[in-house]
Amino acid sequence: MKVLVWDKEKCIGCGTCERKCSQTWFKEENRTKSRIKISEADNGFSCNVCNQCGECIKVCPVEALKRDSKGIVRLNEKTCVGCLSCVGFCPTQSIFQIVEIDIPFKCISCGVCVKSCPSGALSLEEIPESLDKIFYRRHF
């Protein structure tokens, strides 16, 4: 499973990744519509982006959030009823919702930001695939 990884030491806070992301997915350069968020922080910048942990899958009442064949957590927009459970319960607050768009959105490790980053601060790295624990007992 390839997860987007951000290098604090290399990031220059230029915002190219955000513009590229929103352009790719929403056809406009608009930071609020980016699935990766770079913010100013003490001693540089911070980054908020999905780490594909899958906690959101467990709170989605309509099973709109699922891992795809590559292990990436994806939101089925046709199934989503916009309840925002995933937004509130994302441990890293990396699922976003904004005014104009009824349903949330998140990073799906597409890599366009990686290619656009002028300082090489972003990369897609392979990590062992997470096995979602089956917490509940199935008897039939």
Partner: protein, 727 residues
């Protein structure tokens, strides 16, 4: 075919359907939370019609329970009894009902003339029916009449068709018929989530406290789960009408079926609230893991857990039925909301449970709950500290269509009667019904479902049992009045109120009977001493019943209001009100409807409906001071045994609170004096509350009050004028 040992055949069931009538209607988008029409179904003469919702109806009654009561008022007359054909079951979702963003927005409110109180009753319930009904085009449904043969009412919200079928083959017990309806009305597994069913059960037919089950299909567990409109015998009324099920199909759920005025505001408030739950629930109530069952040990700690028919407030075995046990038994880690978007997820479930008794013995089932009330009633109140008994009895109460609270409280009463010799094995059909007798209690439940023997008798409810035991067994009527935990004919829910006068009023003054959904003031009153004077208590017994009534007008669950609180809530001016969440509700109501109410208007919306319901009670022959009187067990120690169990407390109160020196007095004298003081205090409380609510000292709303609320309809004025002229 299906997973049960005695499988049913959906095709065979479907083939036996006989269409009695069909009604087609135009599908229209909702307008700011309203469908602007209600549905009237008469199962006696098989007629179906649409009624308009006027602006005046919305202005006065708001929606939900308000619509229910208005429609019910118009349908019945002062002579209507619960089993009269004109009596109705009315179900509504409320204006805010069905929004998917904010937790706790999927409640249906059900009203009817109650079999157990013989007055109007309201009961709220989760599941998908109310929202799907509204999205199908109906703000409320009235079911009137009594069918000749068993019927199903089917609302196809996808195609705008309503049908009444003869339904001879369906099961009556809810866990079966809820799944049968999914099998019949969904064309595949994926469609089952679009089906919701209202049903009762076999014991509803033989008891006065039958409940209604509202289903929601759990797509992960692949089972139709059940939430209960428990209070007031509405399941009994349902079966009286010979209805097996109301079914609604709606497949087009989306982000904004309500067509709200300001979706962005709702999204903003809701996302923040979800986060608040995420950050605080684990360290506060832990609703997400144990639901309301987290209360068991807390109530025991504060001497509030009803034990042995409310004699005591704690027990040494409470640990066997407390939240760690339920955390282990409940399946964890999957969404347990009874409506979309509820991240409080208190609808916990025991999965893979193999039934040990009864007609379904050996079947493996998923069981909703137990919630606190059920665990307290079956565990401590009946003295059966066995989680497996609680789970099994919970399952059977649900599927048989029996209110767990009334059953638990009635059984506890019967057990105390047994231990006092009022009952014996000869009178119970050979059953020992001491506290703690789980197998015998379970047998009573199965007998109730079969309509046989002493189990059926227990289904009469405490109010009728008291009369029966006096008449048949020569029991002391005063003793039964003292220990029989019912008021207005309804059994108490599960809190000991002896040390909270305000909560005694919370139960006794509740319009429908002693259910805690109007007010839960024990901590404010007893623990935190925030409302020490009669005026303070009266103010609380005005504000909270009005505020809580509002949830019923909107189709909301109360739990997200105060079962998680903002971290800084304690520093606010009025922490008991949870001001931030109240503001959330005001803002979301405005965002749904496009109106611009504030917190005062919120209370006013409730006051209109609350006073209307009080007058409705009065119209049906109740609704005065005498019906607000409570059994002494809810105010103080009935027996010497109870007095001695908390002797220091009662002695100290005689000295410090009532300025009466108990030194040297016999226990009988101290016990009697305690009773005099406490009963007098309750009367003073009634006086203060009636005044605060704008009622006369008999508990009847004044004409001036009614006019100020704008509910001075001619029939209402006529009723009140007759009363005040006759005084």
């Amino acid at each position: 075919m299906n997973k049960y040992q005695n499988p049913y055949n959906p095709e065979k069931i479907k083939q036996a359907h006989k269409l009695l009538t069909e009604f087609k209607y135009e599908l229209k988008p909702l307008e700011k939370g309203y469908a602007n029409r209600t549905l009237h179904v008469h199962v006696g003469n098989n007629t179906i019609k649409s009624k308009p919702v006027t602006q005046e109806m919305k202005d006065v009654f708001t929606g939900g329970k308000g619509f229910d009561l208005k429609l019910l008022w118009d349908a019945v007359n002062k002579n209507t009894k619960w089993d009269s054909p004109e009596n109705e079951i009315v179900i509504a979702a409320g204006a805010m009902g069905g929004i998917t963003q904010y937790p706790g927005t999927g409640k249906s409110i059900v009203c009817g003339i109650s079999p157990i109180t013989e007055a109007p009753v309201d009961s709220n319930v989760g599941g998908y029916f109310g929202p799907y009904l509204k999205f199908s085009g109906w703000d409320a449904i009235e079911i009137q009449g009594i069918a000749d043969k068993e019927v199903i009412v089917y609302i196809d919200g996808d195609n705008g068709i309503i049908q009444i079928f003869e339904a001879p083959e369906e099961a009556i017990d809810s866990h079966l018929i809820a799944e049968q309806m999914c099998d019949i009305f969904a064309s595949n597994e994926q469609e089952k989530k679009n089906i919701t069913t209202v049903s009762a059960g076999t014991a509803s037919e033989h008891s006065f406290y039958g409940c209604l089950n509202f289903s929601f299909y759990d797509r992960r567990r692949k089972v139709a789960r059940l939430k209960q409109a428990g209070r007031g015998g509405l399941g009994t009324l349902f079966r009286k009408k010979k209805i097996k099920a109301l079914v609604c199909k709606f497949s087009k759920l989306n982000v904004n079926n309500n067509n709200v005025a300001d979706l962005e505001a709702i999204k903003r408030i809701s996302a923040e609230y979800h986060r608040e739950l995420f950050e605080n629930d684990d360290s506060q109530c832990d609703m997400r893991h144990v639901g309301t069952a987290h209360l068991v040990e807390i109530m025991d700690d504060y001497d509030l857990l009803p034990t042995h028919n409310y004699k005591f407030g704690k027990h040494e075995k409470t640990g066997k039925i407390s939240s760690p046990v339920w955390r282990e038994m409940f399946t964890q880690g999957i969404p347990d909301g009874c409506w979309y978007g509820c991240t409080m997820q208190c609808a916990k479930c025991v999965d893979g449970y193999t039934l040990r008794t009864g007609p379904y013995k050996g079947d493996i089932v998923s069981i909703d709950g137990p919630e606190y009330e059920t665990a307290a009633a079956f565990g401590a109140n009946m003295g059966i500290f066995d989680p497996h008994f609680i789970v099994e009895a919970n399952f059977y109460c649900d599927t048989y269509g029996i209110d767990t609270i009334s059953f638990g409280t009635a059984m506890a009463f019967v057990m105390e009667c047994y231990e006092n010799g009022i009952l014996n094995k000869e009178r119970t059909g050979g059953h020992e019904l001491n506290f703690g007798c789980g197998e015998e209690a379970m047998e009573m439940l199965h007998q109730m479902a079969k309509g046989e023997d002493f189990g059926k008798t227990i289904g009469l409810g405490i109010h009728r049992l008291k009369k029966l035991f006096v008449k048949e067994f020569g029991a002391d009527p005063q003793f039964l009045q003292d220990i029989g935990m019912e008021c207005k004919g309804m059994e108490y829910s599960e809190y000991v109120t002896k040390e909270s006068l305000a909560m005694q009023g919370g139960y006794g003054l509740a319009l429908k009977g002693p259910q805690h959904d109007e007010a839960w003031l024990i901590f404010m009153d007893m623990v935190n001493n925030q409302i020490p004077t009669f005026a303070d208590k009266a103010e609380a017994l005005h504000y909270f019943p009005m505020f809580r009534t509002w949830f019923g007008l909107q189709g909301l669950c109360k739990l997200p209001w105060n079962d998680v609180e903002p971290p800084d809530n304690a520093e606010t001016d009025e922490p008991a009100k949870v001001p931030k969440h109240v503001q959330n509700y005001v803002d979301i109501f405005n965002a749904v409807t496009g109106k611009n109410i504030d917190k005062k208007e919120l209370i006013l919306q409730s006051e209109r409906v609350y006073n209307f319901q009080r007058i409705f009670n009065f119209r049906m022959g109740f609704g005065t001071r005498e019906y607000d009187q409570i059994p002494y067990r809810s105010a103080g120690p009935v027996t010497i045994e109870e007095y001695l169990s908390r002797e220091d407390r009662y002695d100290n109160q005689l000295r410090d609170k009532w300025n009466w020196d108990p030194t040297g007095k016999s226990v009988e004298e101290r016990h009697q004096k305690t009773r005099e003081f406490r009963e007098d205090a309750y009367q003073k409380l009634c006086d203060a509350v009636y005044t605060r609510r704008g009622w006369d000292n008999n508990g009847v709303p004044t004409i001036e009050k009614i006019k100020s609320l704008g509910i001075d309809f001619p029939e209402v004025i006529e009723i009140l004028e007759n009363y005040f002229q006759g005084k």
